[in-house]
């Protein structure tokens, strides 16, 4: 009986976790798209909540749009594989850190509060380079 109660409490804590950790939401998903979370391959729909570590994957005709809780906006083009390796954000202080890895494909970015909070708090990695974002709109393209 006692054990069950503890398990229930633990279960609740685990269930509640994603709500606290939400870092952004999918606004649009067209064609072949997936969000990889650990070993799970999830199908994003508008409102889908993203977590740190998620990888955004699109196929030949795939496209995804999303907005992060710091107001950063992404548009992911076809044939892309993009991971949010690190995302921490303090909503009150409006500061944090944000590292995105563009393994392949294309990504358009309008940066938000994290990029504004201090120089290079937002970084974008490509297979050959590391970029520090200083408040702007840009596109990164990485061919296969």
């Amino acid at each position: 009986m006692m054990r069950r109660a503890i398990l229930t409490v633990l279960g609740l804590a685990i269930m509640a976790q994603p709500a606290w950790a939400e870092i952004g939401r999918i606004k649009r998903s067209v064609g072949a798209t997936a969000v990889e979370r650990g070993k799970a391959k999830l199908t994003p729909a508008p409102g889908f909540q993203l977590l740190p570590g998620d990888t955004l994957v699109t196929g030949k005709n795939g496209q995804m749009s999303l907005t992060f809780i710091d107001d950063t906006r992404f548009s992911v083009g076809p044939n892309s594989r993009i991971s949010v390796d690190d995302f921490t954000y303090d909503r009150t202080a409006q500061s944090g850190s944000f590292v995105t890895r563009v393994n392949r494909g294309s990504l358009a970015v309008v940066s938000g509060q994290i990029a504004k909070s201090k120089p290079d708090a937002m970084k974008v990695r490509t297979p050959t380079s590391l970029l520090g974002v200083r408040g702007t709109r840009f596109i990164v393209e990485v061919s296969k």
């Binding site: 563009v102 590391l130 840009f138 596109i139």
Partner: protein, 196 residues
């Protein structure tokens, strides 16, 4: 003439498909200046700041920046930019002193919020309540939370899914107009609603 055409087409193809990773820097939607720094290239630390708007920079080998004509961006780039979500909107609603009742001037703001959410699939609605410095801090923490929940409740009543929304109260912190303690200030009795 006939021979020139395939050559032009080949040049177009080269320009259209990035063979090395490329950064395209654009003005912000408000036309403002921004910059991206190349901090590392093939493991080599550096700091090459790209601040030329409407430019293209290669991200493999020594970064070189050249101007581009924004009118001649590739269809793929244009599609990518057109698919960016709309900018988040923020609206401040004000309250009557010591209450969770909106001022008459702020009432129409609710209709604006409801419309915005309905036009944004997958919206996130964040409601943050505040108070002025009248009364003690604990009571103001509660009042600010109640204000945020009141607005959330009204939005929910108008059909906005409560699971899209969150409400927090910040009490007397983050005053909009700085005042000493114990001061009634209309500009500080507010709720800020952010729709992403």
């Amino acid at each position: 003439m006939n021979r020139a055409l395939p050559l032009l087409a080949a040049a177009g193809l080269l320009a259209g498909c990035a063979t090395t990773p490329t950064l395209t820097l654009l003005p912000t939607e408000e036309g403002k200046q921004g910059a991206v720094a190349v901090l590392e290239e093939n493991g080599r630390p550096m700091e090459t700041v790209v601040s030329e708007l409407n430019s293209s920079t290669n991200l493999s080998g020594t970064p070189r920046t050249r101007s581009i004509d924004p009118a001649k961006m590739s269809a793929r780039q244009r599609a990518l930019l057109d698919s960016l979500p709309p900018a988040p909107v923020r609206l401040t609603l004000y309250f009557l002193e010591g209450t969770t009742e909106l001022t008459p001037e702020s009432q129409p703001g609710l209709a604006f919020l409801i419309k915005e959410v309905s036009e944004r699939p997958g919206a996130e609605v964040q409601v943050t309540g505040y108070t002025d410095t009248l009364g003690d801090a604990d009571a103001n923490d509660r009042l600010s939370q109640q204000r945020a929940e009141e607005v959330l409740g009204v939005l929910a009543k108008h059909g906005i899914d409560p699971t899209l929304m969150s409400a927090v109260g910040r009490g007397e912190r983050n005053l909009r107009v700085a005042t000493p303690d114990g001061v009634s200030e209309a500009a500080n009795r507010r709720v800020v609603v952010t729709i992403r």
